[in-house]
Symmetry: C2
Subunit: 180 residues, 2 copies
Amino acid sequence: MTFTATVFIGTSLDGYIARPDDDIHWLTSRGEQAGDMGFFGFLESVDAVIMGRNTYEKVIGFGEENWHYGDRHVGVLSTTLPEGADPRITVYRDLDGLVADLDERGVKHVYPDGGRLIQSFIRAGRVDRFIISVAPVLIGAGHRLFGDLPHDIPLRLDSVSDAGGGFAQLRYTVERRQRA
Amino acid sequence: MTFTATVFIGTSLDGYIARPDDDIHWLTSRGEQAGDMGFFGFLESVDAVIMGRNTYEKVIGFGEENWHYGDRHVGVLSTTLPEGADPRITVYRDLDGLVADLDERGVKHVYPDGGRLIQSFIRAGRVDRFIISVAPVLIGAGHRLFGDLPHDIPLRLDSVSDAGGGFAQLRYTVERRQRA
């Protein structure tokens, strides 16, 4: 038995998660009006949070009081971050090592966060569900949620809703013939 | 008084309207299961259809019996298409000439179709509404609906719905302080 992973993220209608300079004010300023859009309920169902180096730097920049992960296992995938950098996190050097360690820990539900990490998870066939909150704006440039793929990934639409503040929330399950 | 324009289009969840080789089978095969998703009702509200050369070629490739525009004014924006190529269409050489002619004809509601034409309309501030049917698939590469923009375009979410066949349909109005 291995873990499942759910991406929970906000994008612009044109598919960006941040501007070219990493700014997300266009998202967070609108998000404040919308409330948590189910995020904290989702987080309750998660027992491991995985992020890339850039996302980790952003999260710690929010300050100690905005570390929402409690006692959950938090992993950071980075080839450069020192292993003992932060007692709250485990540093992983590659995706295979990360996946093996999560399995060994008996983790059931993973929340992968951050653009490049999510794309790595998608390409490795390790994303099971998407919860995407679409902000009502075209920003025209930036970092995209979805990257190139070697083949189609078919999805099942689980639900679509008006999440408030102008956000549409789309929930999908990745269709698989069988789990690896 | 000038016309308003509504984009009515299908995309993959990753924002593509066609594969790199223009294939849209991934969209149409799913669309057949979903029905018209409101397209023919929408078309009833339209009195002019505008498309680029590529989209025009595709539409005529579907055959005479699939020309759904009836007596509506149909414009094709192309620098190369001969003016008398098709008695059903008016050929325009540039966007300014197109807009001026539509205004002169007293057109009220325009349906711009085709990727590059839609992007030109967006950048010119000439799109008023979007009706986007999101197909439940990531295709990973192709022609994107939205292109680069010189500034943000804020939107108002009008509705979000499950359109059947796995499609989510998002309807937006472009927010404007004032119309040009």
